[in-house]
Subunit: 428 residues, 2 copies
């Protein structure tokens, strides 16, 4: 089977064909490799591609039994995840020649499910704000967002149907929004973090990207081991909470328009949209997320801070110095406030099944020196709630824009089912 | 300064002398190296000692400014922590020649505070139950406990005043109890986990060992960045909750006697001891801890499970297989119950400042094929509460026995202050 658009197949669709043996893994992997070879020079989504190993793995899969839900699917892996067979650089020159001893747990789980690693995708420096070389596939003068820049761009550019990412502030949802793909950040604690460079363990979450909710859910099911994520559509009425958030005054015209489109479309069907009553002091979560991340990153990156300060970007050094100036008693107070908020936010979900809220202030900003503002993601990262970015509109300069849905802690399957239904309504 | 017993100095005492330049780091490090050289062949606490680097580091510290609270103190590091300068084996033949690219964050923080790494201490296989070669310093036919076997034994045998460990089920408190030293497990989330082999991130905690509460608190202050841990004694009345726990029927004679000694001693002073009202269904926490750990370890060790199954112990393989048979939906239910319990347990601390509860069923069991039962630690590991083991009595065959104190989430400074006061009352 060779269609000219094999690399454009979505993950879920390809998975069905692969499982039925109507599509060879080798053909799909080859198509994606060709696409990547053609486009990576412009987009710089991948920092490393291993075509030989990927094709060998694909052929082995074609020759054997169907391995699991990702059988034969090529994936991109953010270069913050350890890989035993591929160099792992964490977006820093410090680790230019680093070869970990083991795959990250999440990478190994994807392999176990039959995924083929196409290569490693660009991350910002230690998943903080200093960008790698990736450009936005929709306009090379604009940032793809970060820190999972390469994974979002690779999926947007059809180099791979799926890619792994991580989020501590806004590193999945923001690049998904800027690149116009679906990004899924699972509930905190559901995906094992072994072998992923640790930044702020109170908030670090592993997730990924696809071109549809169903595709992202397929990856999510493998990462969490929760097959309910594959169930798709739920019937019954959804109670959608409209949550423009206290940062709404900073939403730009494109995000405002996306909001209008979505609320108009969703009010035309049987689901109910209700304004969320803003919890008092909710706005303080943004600063709390920043402070907590600052403290924890400074300690987590202690080896790099102490031994290789000169190899770090000035922006990162400033963060680490600021973090070391915060003492552990203050950290404890942050953790306590975080725990209080996580408890308090849960009551919102007695009235709403999911929350609709902005992903970004607007479309991807011009320029490649920065990756945009995670403003609209920070609170949800702190709270540890599952989130999905839905791309459905086009803003300035043809750049994509969308909104995110946030679910109740642990209810990833309900969030993804709702996201699939809502996404369909917004797209058609 | 050369005293014949330099290696017996406690960490806090040595730290004062070192900071005043009344003791040379080189002399202290040399004394500990000599002690380790003399005793390690029998005890097998260290899997690797680097005398040359340790002495060079000590001399550099003597020649420079006082670096921090651990200036010049030799420490042992459990071989579950990555070290850039020393091999790191995680207690598995799989990693016999592994040399990580970076120090674990906690190791780097200790170095930053002036600590000198004497070497790596024995851990059980991936900190689970298959023992390394360490024997109990009080009787070589008995287990030192696990998984932080070497760290507890090295401190007990005066090879180092301090050592780093980790706990997921009972891996700090249990070996501390069996070896007769103080073990301190901080509140969940307060010590950054970067660079420590991840087993069950919902429960993994980094802590350590010393020969007094003050010594362990010194290490804890550096790990957490919370200098309140150094404050020591609190004045005012302590409300001690007596919590024999639902597992009390499994407490052996030695633990029963330790309990009698402690409750008698504590009732003779101004602090109040009150029986804790057992929360309903508290006993279920033990199974929940086991199940959660089983699910998470199976995923976290996916690389080893998939690529190197033949190099793992049968006991570990059985655990990993059991874990993979649990699905992610069940894991989510475990996480939810854990969150509910963490919330619910907090109300106990409205009536009690600290809880007194057994550390182990009794003294270290005979035999080196197993590391003893973490029964009395599992619930506290699941709940994420800070805990300290206090050694104060002698049981069968001259083996040490004691009890643990458990504090309120985040209140490590109060727990350590209480532990110091209570320990003094139990010892004298």
């Amino acid at each position: 089977m060779t269609t000219p658009k094999l690399h454009e197949l979505g993950a879920a669709q390809a998975a069905v064909l692969l499982a039925r043996r109507e599509l060879k893994a080798e053909d799909l992997v080859r198509a994606c490799l060709e696409r990547a070879a053609a486009r990576n020079e412009d987009i710089h989504a991948f920092v490393h591609i291993d075509a030989v190993s990927a094709l060998a793995h694909a052929r082995a899969l074609d020759a054997g039994a169907v391995r699991g839900p990702l059988h034969g699917l090529p994936i991109g892996v953010k270069d913050l995840f350890d890989t035993a067979d591929l160099p792992t650089g964490y977006g820093s020159s410090l680790y230019a020649h680093h070869r970990p001893a083991a795959d990250a747990a999440s990478v190994a789980l994807c392999r176990e499910a039959g995924a083929v690693l196409l290569g490693k995708t660009v991350t910002t420096e230690f998943a903080y704000f200093t960008p790698g070389p990736t450009v936005n596939p929709h306009n090379p003068l604009h940032t793809p967002g970060g820190s999972s820049s390469g994974s979002a761009a690779a999926v947007a550019e059809h180099m791979v149907p799926l890619a792994l990412g991580t989020q501590t502030a806004g590193s999945i949802i923001r690049p998904a929004a800027y690149c116009g793909v679906v990004g899924y950040k699972p509930s905190l604690g559901r995906v094992m973090s072994a072998g992923v460079k640790s930044l702020s363990p109170t908030m670090d979450v592993i997730g990924g990207f696809g071109r549809s909710v169903r595709d992202a859910a397929l990856l999510g099911a493998v990462l969490t081991g929760d097959m309910r994520l594959l169930a798709g559509h739920e019937h019954g009425t959804l109670r959608i909470g409209l949550f423009p958030s206290p940062s709404w005054p900073l939403a730009e015209l494109d995000t405002q328009r996306a909001w209008e489109i979505a609320t108009a479309a969703l009010s035309r069907n049987s689901d109910s949209c209700q304004d969320v009553v803003l919890p008092q002091d909710f706005a303080e979560l943004i600063q709390l997320q920043k402070d907590l991340m600052t403290f924890e990153m400074a300690r987590s990156l202690s080896h790099e801070r102490l031994r290789h300060r000169e190899a770090l970007s000035p922006q990162l050094v400033a963060l680490l110095d600021a973090g070391m100036a915060i003492d552990g008693a203050t950290h404890e107070a942050y953790l306590q406030r975080t725990a209080d908020w996580r408890l308090r936010i849960d009551s919102l979900f007695e009235r709403h099944d999911v929350l609709l809220t902005p992903s970004t202030t607007g479309v991807a900003p011009a320029g490649l020196a920065a990756t945009g503002d995670p403003l609209f993601c920070r609170s949800w990262s702190l709270l540890g709630l599952p989130a999905v970015h839905l791309p459905f509109a086009t803003g300035a300069k043809g750049l994509p824009v969308g909104l995110q849905l946030v679910g109740r802690m642990g209810e990833d399957h309900k969030l993804l089912a709702a996201a699939q239904r809502i996404h369909e309504r917004l797209l058609y």
